[in-house]
Symmetry: C2
Subunit: 368 residues, 2 copies
């Protein structure tokens, strides 16, 4: 407990590896090459390093608690049914293992250092993190704290895809978006816009990729047609993304933020750029509800003039007028999987677990 304990940094310097690598090794070594692992073990032995978690375990054993960290402010956490539903799955699985759920959310970027201190303070045995944005400091904080983590949604930081041992649960967002857009094409829609989620999140990026791929395969390229060429264009001459309509043909894509208000604004932007648009695929049901409001305000009938397809298939999809055709993902089940994966890890299960990626399906209602 003295202040002179050798630090993680000292071990990293002695072993000639990164702090993240040291952290991974002292927490089980999943995904670290044998040679590196040996160097770290040697440095740990030479310096007499005791990792935080081990120190904690010596004193108190387990805390019996797991943090759920949502990288969103409470205004979103408490208004987007996605979070409540995922938490229902998590709560059930943690309760079954008599493990306390401790919910932390990020109201502001200034909250991060404090959350990092809490995560490093020995108050929880592991963490479930979701709705991470690009460059989110949370994964680094968890690594420094030696805290096992399971992510909700494929982590998007540079190099994440190649990191072995990374635990996450996701749905195949690209396949889901393709289902939605192919459905619209199959119904004869040809000017299909997309309301994307925030493009610093992989779910939004993957759904955009699915939209592009379906359009490219279907021949209808989301051509703005009557658009003046204004508005932001994602991708461009240097962008090899499949399905992109190519330079000179602006995509019918507007970025929202997964909220109803963001969907309203994005829909208005799409209508201004392409008044003759005949369908829109929104990357979440909440954004679709906003799109419906904008379409109504502009006198467009749904689905007669403009077909609308959402994503998630949570309660709001059935409350709208007309009810939403949408892509169903098993949000509660994903929460359950995340919790079980972490419990398995904490319980000393095999180091190597594979990410879980669920398959979405289309639910056809009246909006498109």
């Amino acid at each position: 407990m003295s202040g002179n304990r050798p630090t993680l940094e000292a071990v990293a310097a002695r072993a000639g590896v990164s702090r993240a690598t040291v952290s991974r090794v002292v927490n089980g070594g999943a995904g670290v090459r044998e040679t590196l692992r040996e160097r770290v073990h040697r440095a740990v032995a030479e310096l007499g390093y005791v990792p935080n978690q081990a120190a904690r375990t010596l004193v108190t054993r387990r805390t019996g608690a797991v943090a759920v960290v949502i990288a969103e402010p409470e205004s979103r956490v408490f208004s987007d049914p996605f979070f409540a539903r995922q938490l229902r799955g998590i709560s059930g699985a943690l309760a079954a293992a008599d493990t306390q759920l401790v919910l932390l959310y990020v109201a502001d970027r200034e909250d991060y250092p404090r959350i990092g201190r809490f995560l490093a303070g020995g108050h929880v045995d592991g963490a479930l993190m979701f709705s991470l944005h690009r460059d989110d400091p949370l994964p680094g904080m968890a690594a420094e704290a030696g805290l096992p983590v399971v992510y909700g949604g494929r982590p998007g930081w540079p190099g994440a895809a190649a990191e072995p041992g990374l635990l996450y649960v996701d749905t195949d967002n690209r396949a889901g978006a393709e289902l939605a857009v192919r459905h619209l094409l199959g119904r004869g829609r040809r000017r299909i816009g997309h309301i994307a989620g925030p493009l610093d999140q992989t779910s939004a990026v993957d759904r955009l990729a699915g939209y592009r791929a379906a359009l490219a395969a279907g021949g209808a390229a989301g051509d703005a047609g009557d658009a003046g060429g204004g508005g932001a264009s994602y991708g461009g001459p240097g962008d090899p993304e499949p399905g992109h309509p190519g330079p000179g043909r602006p995509e019918l894509v507007a970025e929202g933020d997964f909220t109803p208000a963001g969907g309203e604004r994005a829909m208005a932007e799409l209508l201004a750029r392409a008044p003759a648009l005949d369908a829109v695929f929104a990357a979440s049901d909440l954004m679709a509800t906003g799109a419906l409001r904008t379409l109504r305000a502009h006198g467009r009938r749904v689905p007669d003039d403009v077909a609308v397809v959402g994503y998630d298939d949570l309660e709001p999809a059935t409350w709208t007028e007309p009810p939403l055709t949408t892509v169903h993902q098993d949000v509660e089940g994903m929460g359950t999987s995340m919790a079980r994966m972490l419990l398995h890890r904490l319980g000393g299960g095999p180091e190597r677990q594979d990410p879980v990626v669920t398959t979405p399906r289309l639910v056809v209602r009246e909006s498109g």
Copy 2:
């Protein structure tokens, strides 16, 4: 850190007092008689007792974290905007003091022992608790853990009113209900029903008392009139509650659960008992939205046939058709006050703070 440390129980036995009294004394002594305090101090000294919190403070100082415990399952925490709004106030005040908010909720009665362990585990410096139900074990757990607590809503356990030093923030629920019912009487309504909240919560009990008092003062006694006398009657011959219409005249009160579905059911019950009812005061806006649905389904026009008044004045009050006349309470401000009161206590401010009780006001919209 050994298992042989003298326990709180041992101190209580030696001093001949309750565990709660020992806990209160070792945490500052607020509200404990001088003679008892001395007995506890002597027992503590003789046994060499170190309270959990002190042990914790010796080792780690403060954790810098505060628990917010909501005694409701996530289905309510995440669907009732009351909680989000109160948390917004709490978050802001805690963040300003660089204190981490740790949210715990109670999905099931079986969760209590685990929550008790977490609260006693030295992971937080204090707790804010709200939506407690009668006989809720949380206050006792906090007392045993030596954890300072501020309650949201007047605690309702037996003897709570007489307990000095009890910290809580509330709104004057009785006065708010009186405002609502007097408004309806002033508009000429004479058969006024009440959809109560769960009567194991003081907010619901106090609003019911306000409804009764206003009816008694106004002369219209919520007489069921054409009712057949069926249905539950709160109070009765042995009940001295002011405003009760007295034996033989069943009250037009149905108990809901603060949810829209509960409001729907309660409204149907009231209509069945008193088809000629001309107004209803619901103890929450969410229950009022349910009442509106039932009234619509029964072909009643609002406010023409039946006037509806809610309570809370959160977002749903403005979304309904027609928008709700309701009782406004400053929910976010109450959250801010709770957090500040606890921070003051944790920061070593004067032991004695008075509960904060805010004054509600009526907001007249179109429903009544």
